[in-house]
Amino acid sequence: MGLTITEKILASHAGKAAVEPGEFIIARPDMVMGNDLSTAGAIGVLKQMGATKVFDPEKVVIVFDHLVPAKDIQAADLLKGVRQWVREQGIALFYDEGRHGIAHIILPEQGLALPGDLIIGGDSHSCTYGAVGAFSTGVGHTDLAGVLALGEIWLKVPASIKFTYHGTLGPWIMGKDLILATIGKIGIDGALYQAMEFRGPALATLGMSERLTMCNMAIEAGGKSGIIVPDGMTLAYVKERARRPWTVYQSDPDARYVAEYDFEITGMRPQVAKPFSPDNVVSVDEVAGTPLDQVFIGSCTNAKLEDLRIAARILRGKKAHAGTRLIVIPASTWIWNQALKEGLLEIFAEAGAAVSTPTCGACFGGHMGILGAGEVCLSTSNRNFVGRMGHPTAQSYLANPAVAAASAIKGCIAAPEEVGA
């Protein structure tokens, strides 16, 4: 019986020839990621465990993203404590202010997430790295401490679900639309405990940015991981970034899947998740005209260079609506610098946007764009639960960056065609 890419990666990291869904394994990761919040939590737990050294400083990457630049005194003290710990541990892969960005974008961008890797991240969106053909999943800070101390983690081998995308992408249709349609179809727990394997002729045409967005939101369907078998696109992306060898795994033709879904995307309209759940998905046309107080282009889901280029293409020479705040937060320092060189930041600034240094910021209601009572936002991020971005009565709609840019211009939810795009 054949194996899925997920089963092959897990078996190889558990020292086994094969594994089966439901089996418990002890696996050794290639890379462990902690952000400012989860690392701060893990440091305390490591002390309780009596662990004085991380298992291997070269396999640990620490990224400041949630609270950076320090949003208040509490955050400043938290960041200070993590910096000191990183120095003591001799961790060189440290993305502090000035090199910082959202971890889920930094790892693939800097070649720290590679095909065939097993990656454990102290953040729920760590499933993003599946886009390069790695098995990656998110954990809390106690699990993060455990893997930092031991260099191993227990995992239950997930069953895999196969998602196949057919057809041709229409204008302004992005990875975000495919994954929103997927979550809308299977629901917020539709892939609970399971690996989501994305494939198909339409997917093959998608660039890495779109694939990262799709794997990023696997968690929004309850998935343990999202994964895409590497192809030429993946290898071209990885080759110019990797600093260590990698392994390409394929799913066998007779691999077992617990469920299979097929999506025909020819003719698909941009998708929007309405409040208050990422599976509350409709076509943009059903919510067009909804007035907006704020548009947020940011987060690990949709603030990559390609996302910013698309938003800038629509915003070029136009202004955000007078009654709508536009906030643009590039996902990493490298992206910010590229966006500067390409003139994208200027386009945003001239459109009346507030452009910030990279941070998770508004996405989790931390800082840099929190919503007040009753305010309505359209966001390119990944979650729109009650209170996610601020006041419990505020509402967030989730969409792709093209819809976000068009909506900022119109001051209400709008399809890109409505602004002549």
Partner: protein, 163 residues
């Protein structure tokens, strides 16, 4: 034996409502404990008492991996959370820190305010108000060992040869 009043919640209770993002920089669970479930019921922290039990719908704890969600519930003194299913990161976090979680679809029959007794070891849930008895699905042996070891801190201490 854990004994407390039942508080009922619906499906897909996410960690953004269990512990909103504005409290993420607060590292002390005792400080965030009063704010548990604030996103659903701002008065929950005033109405509930230590020992009380949450009986919720499917996929409890979905969303963010923030450990302040189970950590806050535990610090408040919530005796146990009963649900048909839990989101996987929440389940791991709860087991790791020793917040009792029980998977039991039939326990949906428990009504708000009922007095409920939970025997975590056997998975037996007794609604003392109605007399109904439910049995939670046993965790796989590996997880039972982790729970018996007292959570991940003790497990790691053993693996490190420190305990």
């Amino acid at each position: 034996m854990i004994r407390g009043r039942a508080w009922k919640f619906g499906d897909d209770v996410n960690t953004d409502v269990i512990m909103p993002g504005k409290y993420l920089a607060m590292r002390n669970p005792e400080l965030i404990a009063p704010y548990i479930m604030e996103g659903i019921d701002p008065d929950f922290g005033k109405k509930a008492r230590p020992g009380d039990i949450i009986v919720a719908g499917k996929n409890f704890g979905c969303g963010s991996s923030r450990e302040t969600a189970p950590g806050g519930l535990k610090a408040f003194g919530i005796g146990a959370v009963i649900a048909p299913t839990f989101a996987r990161i929440f389940l791991r976090n709860a087991v790791n820190i020793g917040l009792p979680v029980l998977e039991c679809p039939a326990a949906a029959g428990i009504r708000e305010g009922d007095l409920v007794a939970v025997d975590v070891a056997s998975g037996r849930i007794t609604d003392e108000t109605t007399g109904a008895i439910y049995h939670a699905a046993p965790f796989p042996p590996f997880l039972q060992e982790l729970i018996a070891a007292g959570g991940l801190v003790n497990y790691a201490r053993k693996r490190l040869g420190l305990a």
